[in-house]
């Protein structure tokens, strides 16, 4: 239920979602969530009724129990998180001449992979020494090496188990992958 709290001379009606967080804090005693609650209060949350559904509360509890804010089992969230982790690497990250991924490369990589959600199979995502963000699909019938450098394009080379090759030098990010490749790297049925 919404509660009332005070800060300085102002009065706030705490929305039910905050009450839910409060409940979670009670359950988990996680200091991080206490900071989140404080942040919400400082953000001058407007009085507003939000239904505190049991499933919402359960989500908070499950996330808190796993020590995270989002469900890391989801391929889309894992993928984006991995790209952003790569974005934290700085020049010389390999103790040699390893280049950091450019901001544009991070942006392009996210945009590229978002177009394939929610059906894309999970790729291995790595940073190469030349700043390439690489997506690698190692599948029973296809191995696909695809990457972006932040120049607005992507390139790939793939080979099927039967020996068919797919190759592209500089496809625009607006250009979709061929259906033959999508049929391998997504769970979606393509016609």
């Amino acid at each position: 239920m919404p509660g009332i709290t005070t800060k300085s001379t102002h009065t706030y009606v705490v929305p039910s979602c905050v009450s839910a967080i409060d409940d979670v804090i009670e359950i988990t005693k996680k200091p991080l969530l206490a900071i989140g609650l404080t942040t919400l209060m400082i953000m001058n949350v407007q009085p507003k009724t939000i239904n505190s559904k049991p499933e919402t509360l359960r989500s908070f509890v499950e996330a808190a129990e796993e020590g995270q804010r989002l469900n890391s089992k989801r391929v889309d969230l894992k993928t984006i998180a991995r790209i952003r982790e790569i974005g934290t690497y700085r020049d010389g990250w390999d103790d040699a001449n390893g280049k950091a991924a450019s901001k544009q490369a991070i942006y392009d990589a996210e945009n590229f992979i978002r177009q394939l959600f929610p059906d894309v199979k999970e790729p291995t995502i790595t940073l190469a020494a030349d700043g390439e963000i690489n997506f690698l699909w190692i599948l029973p019938e296809l191995r696909l090496d695809l990457g972006v450098y932040g120049d607005g394009s992507y390139s790939y080379y793939g080979k099927t188990s039967s020996g068919n090759e797919f190759i592209a030098d500089e496809n625009s990010l607006d250009e979709k992958l061929p259906e033959e490749i999508l049929a391998f790297i997504t769970n979606k049925t393509h016609h």
Binding site: T124, N134, G147
Partner: protein, 156 residues
């Protein structure tokens, strides 16, 4: 392209041209370069293949202390992605004999390997694409051809 001919040595070379029967080494890290124990494509950067040179150590002339120190330094730089290290080893001629053919063109060597001695590592060699002007898709194909040679026989 920065590469020189394979039968030439650079001015400050200590060990001369890289011979076909020499073994070449490359340090790899897990999980950065390996998935399920197999070396992955991003272990070979396209820029290395095209212009920068893919660094190798010549086994016959290598300095063990230098390689060990390099592993320590590189591991410290990125410990979460470098939880373990391994050294890949292949015969120079096995890389030199890989060929590639453009459509309707005769087969040509895919790679050249040259002496690239450095002041602090005279046993350094570099591998480049032998194909001038390849774009990224073509370079990706090249690295797929090199990858089998880098696979580890024994991992540390």
């Amino acid at each position: 392209m920065r590469y020189t001919q394979e039968d030439e040595k650079i001015s400050h070379s200590t060990f001369g041209v890289v011979k076909d029967d020499e073994y070449l080494l490359r340090v790899l890290y897990a999980p950065e370069h390996l998935v399920d124990g197999l070396v992955i494509e991003s272990a070979i950067s396209l820029e290395d293949l095209s212009t920068r040179g893919f660094s190798l150590d010549r086994k016959t002339h290598k300095d063990d202390d230098l390689i060990e120190q390099r592993i320590v330094n590189q591991t410290q730089k990125n410990p979460s992605n470098r939880q373990s290290s391994a050294i890949s080893e292949f015969l120079c001629v096995d890389a030199r004999s890989i060929s590639i053919a453009a459509p309707e063109q005769p087969k040509e060597n895919a790679f050249i390997i040259i002496d690239d001695a450095q002041c602090d590592n005279p046993a350094h060699a570099s591998l480049y694409s032998a194909q001038d002007g390849l774009k990224k898709g073509g370079l990706r194909k090249l690295r797929s051809l090199l990858l089998p040679l880098l696979q580890l026989k024994t991992a540390e």
